[in-house]
Symmetry: C2
Subunit: 382 residues, 2 copies
């Protein structure tokens, strides 16, 4: 029995359904649930708060090759992106470069800034689902403040070459802000090697944790000059806060680490779960997980093509991820029909999005394909 077979036993959901929607919201596994139940037990007994969220911070830092001082706890990706957006300065005639494949809320923080400034938002357009480096080169100029991009695009699973895009940005003095919620936990991330400046993610997708726990990575060099808009007790130097009692202090002395971007008490329930999930992922090893996911999605793509479906996910191996999207007529209806059969996938981009994780099996995919045939009168796009 290999490690993935062992870990599959942590996911009782496989007995009840064929869950292939990790790009949506993942099921919880037994170790995550048990960790949360243990925390609940302590809290019911009246034990004072004892869970140390720094354990989650350290594990996430390890996963992306950062220092834990570069990691802030944020409730979700959107909050992380809003923090990053509002740390940057937007001089007259500046622009931000993003793409037309982003999940809307990746761009919203900058649309908000545009409402009260003359910031220009430039969209690199996809060509048949691909975002080309040459188009980033054309879009980025010396007035670009940041390139804002998902590591893996939510709809078709196109994986961007972050290192190449970061180099384009940095050549023009721009920064790169990454939404990693469709890659963290599934694809290898190395913020040092990929030269990433900001990276935000939630835990409830590929990281297999609950909602309410997320992370914002901020490159060390950027932290001290970055003054957060939202602040609370969590933002200030711990040693200062702890000595404050009867208070008459008019100083705001921010933490020297990424903790300055935190505000108040996070969901400890969620971070207890996230910690257990990160432990599981680190135990398996992210390279192994990525390879396994590629093996499954390669298999799925081949089978779908054999059955005559049109794959909307670009198939170059360097741009592939855990997401496979194929064209379908009436995708929402079909997804609903599959749901009734216990198969969980999503409707996206006029197609069906399938997103297996490392504990899924080829057998799961075959059963999905069988159900798909049952509900399809004829494959669309063929």
């Amino acid at each position: 029995m290999n490690i993935f077979q062992k870990i599959r036993e942590y996911f009782p959901c496989v007995k009840e359904r064929i869950f292939l929607n990790h790009a949506g919201v993942s099921p919880l596994c037994i170790p995550v649930s048990e960790a949360i139940q243990g925390y609940l037990k302590n809290k019911v007994s009246g034990e004072e708060e004892d869970f140390d969220v720094d354990s989650a911070r350290k594990l996430f830092a390890q996963l992306i090759n950062a220092s834990s001082e570069e990691v802030a706890l944020v409730p979700n990706t959107s909050t992380g992106l809003s923090i990053a957006a509002n740390l940057l300065k937007y001089p007259r005639s500046s622009n931000v470069v993003t793409t037309d494949l982003e999940f809307p809320s990746v761009v919203y923080p900058w649309l908000r800034i545009k409402m009260s400034s003359n910031l220009e938002i430039r969209y690199v357009k996809n060509i048949e689902g691909r975002l080309r480096l040459e188009d980033f080169e054309k879009a980025v100029n010396d007035d670009t403040v940041a390139v804002v991009i998902s590591h893996v695009e939510y709809g078709n699973g196109f994986k961007n070459d972050l290192k190449a895009i970061a180099e384009i940005a940095h050549e023009h003095g721009a920064l790169i802000v990454v939404d990693a919620c469709q890659s963290a936990g599934a694809m290898n991330i190395d913020v040092k090697r990929q030269e990433i400046d900001f990276l935000a993610t939630s835990c409830y997708k590929w990281l297999l944790g609950p909602s309410g726990a997320g992370f914002l990575y901020v490159k060390r060099d950027l932290i001290e000059e970055a003054e957060p808009i939202f602040v609370g007790w969590a933002s200030v130097k711990h040693e200062i806060f702890e000595t404050v009692d009867l208070w008459n202090n008019t100083q705001l002395i921010l933490s020297e680490t990424a903790r300055r971007f935190e505000i108040g008490t996070p969901s400890l329930l969620s971070y207890v779960g996230a910690t257990a999930a990160l432990e599981l992922i680190l135990k398996c090893g992210i390279e192994k997980i990525e390879n396994r996911i590629m093996e499954l999605t390669n298999y799925l793509i081949e089978k779908l093509k054999e059955d005559g479906f049109t794959i909307q996910t670009p198939q170059e191996s360097s741009n592939r991820s855990g997401i496979v999207n194929f064209k379908a007529s009436k995708p929402k209806e079909k997804v609903e029909k599959l749901h009734q059969k216990g198969v969980i996938v999503s409707a996206r981009m006029n197609g069906i999005r399938v997103s297996p994780h490392f504990y899924n099996t080829k057998d799961d995919l075959e059963r999905f394909l069988e159900y798909l045939k049952e509900i399809e009168d004829q494959p669309s796009g063929s």
Copy 2:
């Protein structure tokens, strides 16, 4: 058996310790823990996200006599206060009025604004633990943008007369921003009657919920003109977001309700717990809870005085709350000694802060007083 005796059975912590620290972090009760366990069970089975956070929103709105459209979900009080602080405009020579009894992070968002503007922060000084209305009248002028204040002060439990302070603010065109984390769940709040403009709270104190769930009330008239700095998918009109698929939309159309102040996915684990806790509080009735807490704290104050302790909490009944603070030498050492005996209280303001909730009993208080005598060589301040 009255309702409080019945509800005491939901709190197994009473068997293991004397928990009198609801102004810190409350224990969880069985209905809250069971609700979270039920949610975990669904998530482990791979059931798709089905908990509707609007149930929490509605119950909180009911508790404070607001409409649920006036309530935004925020992870904690500090985030709620930061949102409120950054919605307001601070013209040249404007000021914000607060007090020297606030928990530091109540003031931090405005200290942050002061760093990049010439905002003046005026502190109403307490006189023997009391904040006097006449001092607010002196501090507030036509340049005041907001009065920022806790309903109940965290250190000594002084309860401010919100309605009177709101009237002073409104006479000068200023708004009132309230931190309710030491009153919500313990003291009656009526945002309409008290004329409150903004009110933020977490759930992990008197509301008896877990960390990671909080609320921000924004008075209806203020919502549409208030443009949040941080935005995400949760901020926009639902119906617009749901029709977005392959995305090429450059519009940011904010929700018309307080949902515009939300950013991304909240901790569903935390809101499941908060919902169960709010149901419990509403079932008992906040007036009954407040009366019960007053009965307990009155009793405690009398007993402490009999034993020669100096009460630091102002004793006028209209300014009383669930917090009682009495002077003590080496309070941290004493709190630690009490902790070893299973008595949970806090050290604050060179004294010991005791904060019983409605399920505590006079017997709990008597046992606390006994342990206190055991560790006291002689009462300080006598």
